[in-house]
Point group: D2
Chain length 357, copies 4
């Protein structure tokens, strides 16, 4: 049962309603969305409870529902959500190209990547400072030093930054730099992290778990929205199947299916899905054609030498060719490429003083 | 080991070579491709056998290889294969729309479907006379009566016909009508059927098994090509995964991956993959963008009442909208829609005398 | 709708009922089971049809059902089916060990295998004369010569024979030798073959398709039973998943699940599922514990040199150890190992005159 | 490259070696196992580095390896690990039955469950105080109040406790109660949590991710062992496949396969895998037969009314029948059921003063 409080009601009234629910052995979660407090109660509601709650002071409406897709579903909001990432819209008529290296390695690599992305028509710069790795002995990312390098490139190129947060303990550090947070496939079901991000209010890109159904993916988004953060971008990145020719099987049907159920924007990561450079271009074009709101592309100035996922990154020059192809295809379907915010990339980067990385 | 005989060599010479191979305990398969006899021998070749075979009369070349993708691989033929289906090319710059009902039901349905497909810009008419069904109690197709209805619509509309052959016993009947044969997902590994089709020389569309790897799919094609029939069109139709929102998961990465390995054309069946009308349009557009050579679309004049796979077919009017969208997208990428052969659809169908169906 | 005819009714009466059904635009399939003719009609039955058919002469009962598991379900027969394979029961308290080489190669190999299996406590001898292969260039089996070698070993050891039939064209040949036919995973959906086997009346082992759901597997069995052949043994042999450590993932839950739905016996093939010798023993024991009615084990006197699936076969000595372990486990659960028919293996094989293989 | 320090060497020496590695641009992780410090360095080792590190003071050995299964592999330890859980051994000849409700609900439920488990022959009591849920609106567990109820039942029955930890923030609380921690399928790749548990030194049961390969599962264990905690028990709980008849597909092959690669004990959770009460017994028996070291069974005194996963729990009476069956099967294979520690369950529980739950 969900109780939506009146926008102007005093917080104490919500507390009274919560107490009334608890008195009936219901658990109560607090949420906030579109300026209204929501009380989400779980447990089996005794008969007639909704009728008793509805007339309480401050209550706007009571939804006696079991529907789990409370905030992510089209029933809640018919119009498409557009997430504003420091001036770059995700969702709506524009198609966003997010690009950059899998892992931040050093200043030269990030500078080359950032300029390459900006010149190639990318609108948001990606780079991992904290890397989720299958093996404890693999490179785990530069951490805070990596974040500083990302901030530096935003300063120089004006591109907004997306970077992954692995852990609640790192969230404050990441929030200092990220214009949009990234939750990776391994963390899609990490409720603690999702809730903390929900409370942060920062836009977030939520990757689909590699074996998550569409419903589970939307329920993970629901963890974030139910904390009052409506700015969630979904990201399809391939699911696990028996086919060995690609690292994962990119599920473009899911993009089309999600758009029917949910108002949230969806982008596609063909680089991690395929794990092969040669399939990135055709899959990115297919993502645009299927109706995705953007793509996230692995780009590295020296792809073969990358510390993480070597062999799946495009060179910035290849990215430029891809965005040109995307532009033509989008035009034919009445859409356009999203552009970075106006101040992006004034000139060559100045030399900045940071700790040597 | 594969022995390619000289194009002009007498058949007896091939027989001599085969005998020489058998004398070494090798099994010998006979094949013919591009005008040359091939002897494909299996078993472990004794050391030096290739050297002893090479100088025999009539031998053009000996390939001492274990490579199983003998004829389907790019190593055999670099240029893309274009399959001519009664005047409609599959492969090359044109993109083909194959459309029609899943099952042939009666004359009115076929007439409405065929005219709808022709007017909507479809180039090949599909319809199943023999239906592979999971349950023995489901409608199994009209059989020969269904074939006659297909032939009738070809006569009227000029559209080439594709129809499925389930069984070697029906092959002769189907060959009388089909401009291109269809092998369904359940028969992809039916070696007997594949070989018989290989010997028939008729173009064939080979659907991917619902749990077949790309390699197994190409090896199935190899059964057909190794019998001397080079006119194979591959068809991706979804693979089985854990995701319940779609009937199968359409694997568009496989289309791009296959095109790198093989010279054979690949088309996509979004209708059977998704099992949902609302995903057909976005997936067909994605298929065009990913580089497929065409799509096969379920179309029915009365979709809800279809005897087979009701609820996944488009209405002819929706097909017309889809081909218009496809045309725009293809133009943007330098390609065009394939057109049916010149004589297609002179006017309204004449009344034809056939057994009442 | 299924019409069951009286056991003593004349065949003409069934014909009259069929005509009555066809007059209502229903398709009619003929079947025979437990001595009664069944007319299975498909299509949408007009309202009141069952009531009009029920009083017709010769009609015993009319089932107005959509239930597809007509003959395989527990609703049709509560008690477990026991299939008699030339004196060896499959189903019931005994647990059967079927063993032998994947492919019949030559007389020495078959003789060593057959004696090894008999001495190790196997009750049925397997061996493939016709081999379904992914590649057209792999060894395809000895065909009829292989069948003769199997017959020879039955003569010598008394063990009943199981061998695969790939094709209706080979069925008559295979029926001369096989005490129980085998349908492989690639042919589970081959309706033509299933129906022909149904008409043959010979016991049959039906392997699960590698991507078939339990329901689809039982519907495939239904094709055989609906033709009047009740002697179907199911065989779980692994399904396709993402896990690369085993060739397939053996689905022992399916064994337990099938036994709740169906009265048919179920055996397990751990050799093909795992594709690894070292997992055969633990998986065979698990199969016995989960309630399977037997196992089918790949055995070869020279496992490393096998022409087909080398590296997954046990040596006969290892089979003997396994059956000893199985015996102990079965005893603990109130079951026993099935024994071969009384006359099995009189002494060393006599020298038999057959064509040199 | 892994540097193992001498057991008696001063910590400063390890620091010197770490500095030497960092001077060569290697990243250095610290670990401790079997009383020895390990320095695990990642990055590409320059030629000759191992030779320069080996003679440094305090260095016992240098392994110049890329092998990721450093501590979990049989190469590191040939003998099976036996994990001591407050007097109950997991691994070795005894087979452990872990049982209890999915979620701790209230005192009466836990008291009934704990006594039922103890009387039925269970050796460890499970119960979830923190529940990972797909939906934010599902019951999320009682948290600390649930932990207190578990502690209370340990006091009364003497059964060691296993309970899940979802989050590093809850770890200290959980450590006060849990004799063995549980990491759930959704957290298998949560490196932060795995490392913290590694540092805690408490035994831990690590469930396989629902789409994790065996290798990824062992690498997750490696995160724990590389922090110096050798007491890891693996738990197979079903993987995601296309089969809808069971919630997951229990992969018993993985149990056998893991035992060949790793020395860690493996138990099986048939309740969550199947999601169906009727399959728990056969799958538990199969787990014992395949060589697992135990099972974890969902038990609830009122299964239909459970707040979490209702319909998959056994009644304590059914558990007693299952352990009797397991005992017989284990005896036949030379094994026995593990018994709870001597002081378990003195009599009826005393009334304990705790906050009302």
């Amino acid at each position: 049962m969900i109780v939506v409080m009146d926008q102007t009601s005093a917080p104490e009234l919500a507390e009274d309603v919560a107490a009334a629910l608890r008195a009936e052995d219901m658990q109560v979660l607090r949420s906030r969305c579109h300026g209204r407090a929501h009380l989400i109660s779980t447990g089996t509601a005794p008969r007639g409870l909704a009728e008793r709650i509805r007339p309480l002071p401050g209550v706007e409406s009571v939804v006696d529902t079991e529907d789990a897709l409370r905030f992510t579903g089209r029933a809640y909001q018919r119009a498409d959500t557009v997430v504003d990432v420091a001036g770059v819209p995700i969702g709506g008529p524009a198609f966003v190209v997010v690009a950059g290296p899998c892992a931040v390695e050093n200043r030269a690599q990030m500078s080359d990547s950032a300029h390459g992305v900006a010149l190639a028509g990318g609108a948001i710069l990606r780079g991992g400072a904290y890397k989720p790795r299958t093996s404890p002995y693999s490179f785990q990312g530069l951490g805070r030093a990596g974040l500083r390098l990302l901030a530096e490139q935003r300063e120089v190129t004006g591109l907004p930054i997306i970077t992954e947060v692995l852990d609640v303990a790192d969230l404050d550090d990441v929030l200092e730099v990220a214009d949009i947070l990234q939750v990776g496939t391994r963390n899609m079901s990490n409720a603690t992290l999702l809730r903390a991000i929900g409370r942060s209010g920062r836009p977030v890109l939520l990757k689909r778990g590699m074996a998550a159904t569409i419903e589970e993916w939307l329920l993970a988004a629901e963890y974030i929205l139910s904390e009052g953060n409506p700015d969630v971008v979904l990201c399809e990145r391939g699911i696990r199947t028996f086919e060995p020719a690609t690292r994962f099987t990119l599920d473009l049907s899911a993009v089309a299916a999600v758009r029917r159920i949910s108002h949230l924007p969806v982008i596609v990561d063909p680089s991690h899905a395929a794990g092969r450079t040669d399939l990135v271009r055709p899959l990115a074009l297919a993502a645009a054609a299927v109706g995705a709101d953007g793509v996230m592309i692995d780009v590295h100035p020296d792809a073969a030498g990358a510390l993480c996922d070597a062999g799946q990154a495009l060179h910035p020059k290849e990215l430029a060719e891809l965005t040109a192809d995307l532009g033509r295809l989008l035009t034919a379907t009445g859409r356009v490429l999203a552009v970075p915010p106006p101040r992006a990339m004034p000139a060559r980067p100045r030399a900045l003083a940071t700790e040597g990385v």
